[in-house]
Symmetry: C2
Subunit: 522 residues, 2 copies
């Protein structure tokens, strides 16, 4: 039976949740980031808001025609060539596979960083072009948008929101916690550090070193890149980080089934799992295949959209390992058909991931560690075998491993034996499944669906023209002020001064006393 | 029209919000704290949970019979005598009124502190008695409660939850932020400091000094009080603060219409305004009186339940000020009828505060600054004139003043003139009302009603036997670890060592070189 308060709640929600047709200007990021943004855009559209997407002309995925949004296409040379990117990833994986020296790996990292810097330079050129395009800027002004929604992985949306004087909502990666909330290094692992919230002394030293490295990277790479641009357009006392940190709402692709508990801020809204939804029935053919697995169940494997192929020796090993299991396997694989493929394995070009993960026969999900896939696995309670490839994937999987719901393999050393062993462990040790079911029950047990929560706060920003009451302005302080170093120095100086005066006075008195005694004696 | 997602949401809420008859063991605090707790208890009861309240036999307000809860009555001598307390407050106010010297005021503070310490000693005696009462403890064990709900202003509930091994939910004062969330002193004002989140250098120095004072108070008063007890019952390496900080959920009587934006933790649930509800019609007589105010509207004044009387000279001045206004005044006043009372002022023993605040004719609320009254004023959008008396009231009002919705007077200096001036300012400067309406619209614009949110999280703790995924265990670290001081010292030592080795090696080389040159020359 429905509690009367819930009816009242639903009525309250009806009266407050809806805003009459807001106007949202979106600056998305391409690639897998677009998948997330598109879900939010579709939901905004379905709630009667008008969405305008600013897309570079060299985008991979962002279509110029959509029933859900209008587009403004901008000339850009900031995009990354898809073929070249694919080749780069393949080269990286092969090198790691062949046991590249530390030097080679560092130089590869350096190369990647150079390319990222180059990309940011080109992004700024693009934004400069937009700022100078008076017709474009006038039309953006005239359109009277309610807010800018952006993925701040690149800075276009941040810069444009400030130029247009619009409230700013982020759809943001969880690593950005470090940019907004206090993060004591004693129990908050630095992004990519692969550490947990419970660290030994040595791990805490590592964590601090990682943090220094990140800070240096920010000081010497991000800031100098943006500095001349920001100074030119927003004033010589403004830092890019300030513009970034002033966002009204941070819709964070995160929650505490995924992240370790940590300090947060009032304007951080966790929306992990916002893309999750109940599964739909499979196609007749796929359902028959799944059912044929009997009591053994099914293994689902896909490595995401960014990496379409794996080095051949790995796929051979993977196929051989699968062939030894009694389970049926559904594997999204695009390269050459492995020679070792067993009868139990079905290779597909594309698979209905959510419907398969929600199927009661699914036992294990072999994944690369993108946050979307991990969230869907949590939602459906399916334990994981991880084969992280690039970017934050190893770090994401590390969290799942720490929570006891994933076995993780290293692409450099994976082979038939350890792959098979990992699969068997997750299949047959009940703790993986039990803990994942527990995470799933926590993720589903929220006062509000994550996507509804995200919508509420976007609409809140429309209604109140921002969310000033939730946002500290502490980011305007210098580090010296923020960490009270000036106050500490001042108090220390006062203490020293008082101490010195006291000691001097004491010595003076002693001197007087002795001197008098001396005189008396004489 | 109701959005389809909202229907889905309501269904989701129906399926997840309800728990079949949980059992809650409540350790409340007496006085105005009980008003809050009782609202939560009534709501728990109405949702089908069984509530047991542990009440000391010397309580002021906590009744032994109620349709909403069962009681367990405990022998206690920790309670404060109501008459004596009233006399103490009156004496304090009179002294402040007469311009007591700093010394007198400090000695009064010291007296108050001594009494508080004495109270805590007696509380611990009471808890000791309960721990030793094997029959009571057995019955509490056997009752299989789902959780302990307590106001941790006194420690009974905290200690009992740990002894019984039960999850712990706090109904807690907002000052407790400092006990759980990082609070950078550069922009987080220390409790009772009357500072904002934007401080000058001197204010930041003040803030740090306040913080030192609070820390000392904790070190030398709270901890030593609890230490022997906690060591005896929970082990010699356990601190009371650890037991306190390990609570699963902190239902905080706070939100960001009241508090300045600041870091928070995932297990802090803001529930300010949970007691707020739409107003009901007034009695015929009161409604007639209110309507007779015409366009001028009504002023409502009450100073809460703790302080029942004011020094006579103040009430004379207040009445005289009211008499000069065209508004009608409704004043809850229990002492002698002031001789200066005007025809426009109605004195009542008790007034329907919420119904009056929600009345469209109400223009100003003259209050003492308890959080309940302030929250109701925010909810109904009525600006404030403040006459803070004791405890946190001045600090609460300071927040309202900083937000531009209240004019605050000092009880030591209030007189007819400045009281009248304050009333006129709030009545006739539109900014007070406008800003309060803005706060009101923000407070009402939440994805969920505060009381429903509180209920959700209490029931979440029932369903999942705690909320471990939202709770850091950083409180188990020493301060040296928490603030990474050991890591910093280690890294500094390494740097110094490397530097020393480098310098030594350099000097050694130089020496060799010069020595060789010298030998050559010779």
């Amino acid at each position: 039976m429905c509690h009367p308060n819930l009816v009242a709640l639903a009525v309250l929600l009806c009266s407050t949740l809806l805003v009459n047709g807001g106007k949202v200007l979106v600056f998305p990021v391409d690639g897998s980031h677009w998948i997330n943004m598109n879900i939010i855009i579709e939901e905004l559209h379905s709630r009667g808001h008008e969405v305008t997407v600013v897309r570079p002309n060299d985008t991979w995925y962002i279509k110029s025609e959509s029933p859900h949004y209008k587009t403004i296409t901008i000339n850009s040379s900031a995009g990354i060539d898809k073929e070249r990117f694919g080749a780069f990833v393949m080269e990286t994986l092969t090198m790691r596979r062949q046991g590249a020296s530390l030097w080679t790996r560092l130089s590869m990292e350096y190369d990647l960083m150079k390319q990222l810097i180059q990309m940011h330079v080109k992004v700024l050129e693009m934004v400069e072009g937009m700022f100078e395009d008076t017709k474009l800027m006038q039309s953006l002004h005239d359109a009277k948008y309610d807010l800018v929604l952006t993925d701040p992985w690149i800075g276009t949306g941040v810069l444009m929101a400030h130029r247009l004087g619009l409230p700013l909502v982020f759809n943001v990666h969880f690593h950005c916690h470090f940019a907004i909330a206090p993060s004591p290094l004693s129990y908050i692992p630095t992004p990519l550090s692969e550490l947990t919230d419970k660290m030994t002394f040595i791990q805490r030293v590592q964590n601090m070193l990682y943090f220094f490295f990140l800070t240096l990277q920010n000081w010497y790479i991000t800031e100098p890149n943006y500095k001349p641009f920001v100074h030119r357009h927003f004033g010589s006392d403004v830092h890019y980080m300030e513009l970034f940190q002033s966002a009204d709402i941070w819709l964070m692709r995160n929650d505490f089934t995924f992240e370790f508990p940590r300090p947060t801020m009032p304007n951080v809204v966790y929306m992990s799992g916002f893309q999750c939804k109940p599964s739909k029935p499979l196609s007749k053919e796929l359902e028959d295949f799944v059912q044929s697995s009997g009591e053994h169940g099914v293994i689902v494997m896909t490595l995401g959209s960014v990496v379409e192929e794996l080095p051949e020796d790995i796929t051979e090993d993977i196929a051989a390992a699968f062939a030894e299991l009694p389970q049926k396997v559904i594997w999204r694989h695009k390269g050459k058909r492995p020679s070792t493929l067993g009868n139990n394995t079905r290779i597909l070009d594309w698979l209905p991931q959510n419907d398969l993960l929600g199927h009661p026969k699914t036992r294990v999900f072999v994944a690369h560690g993108g946050t979307n896939g991990i969230q869907e696995a949590i939602y459906h309670g399916v334990p994981l075998v991880g084969l992280p490839l690039i970017f934050d994937q190893a770090d994401n999987f590390f969290r799942m491993k720490a929570k006891g719901v994933a076995k993780v393999l290293d692409i450099a050393t994976v082979n038939k034996e350890n792959f098979l062993e990992a699969l068997k462990e997750v299949l047959y040790q009940p703790s993986y499944r039990e803990k994942m079911k527990e995470l799933s029950s926590i993720q589903r047990d929220q006062p509000m669906k994550p996507l509804d929560r995200a919508m509420f706060w976007i609409e809140f920003v429309m209604r109140h023209k921002g969310a000033a009451h939730l946002r500290t302005e502490s980011y305007k302080m210098s580090s010296i002020q923020y960490y009270s170093m000036d106050v500490a120095a001042f108090l220390l100086a006062v203490i020293l001064l008082v101490f010195t005066i006291f000691v001097s006075a004491f010595r003076f008195l002693l001197h007087k006393l002795f001197y008098r005694n001396k005189v008396k004696k004489e």
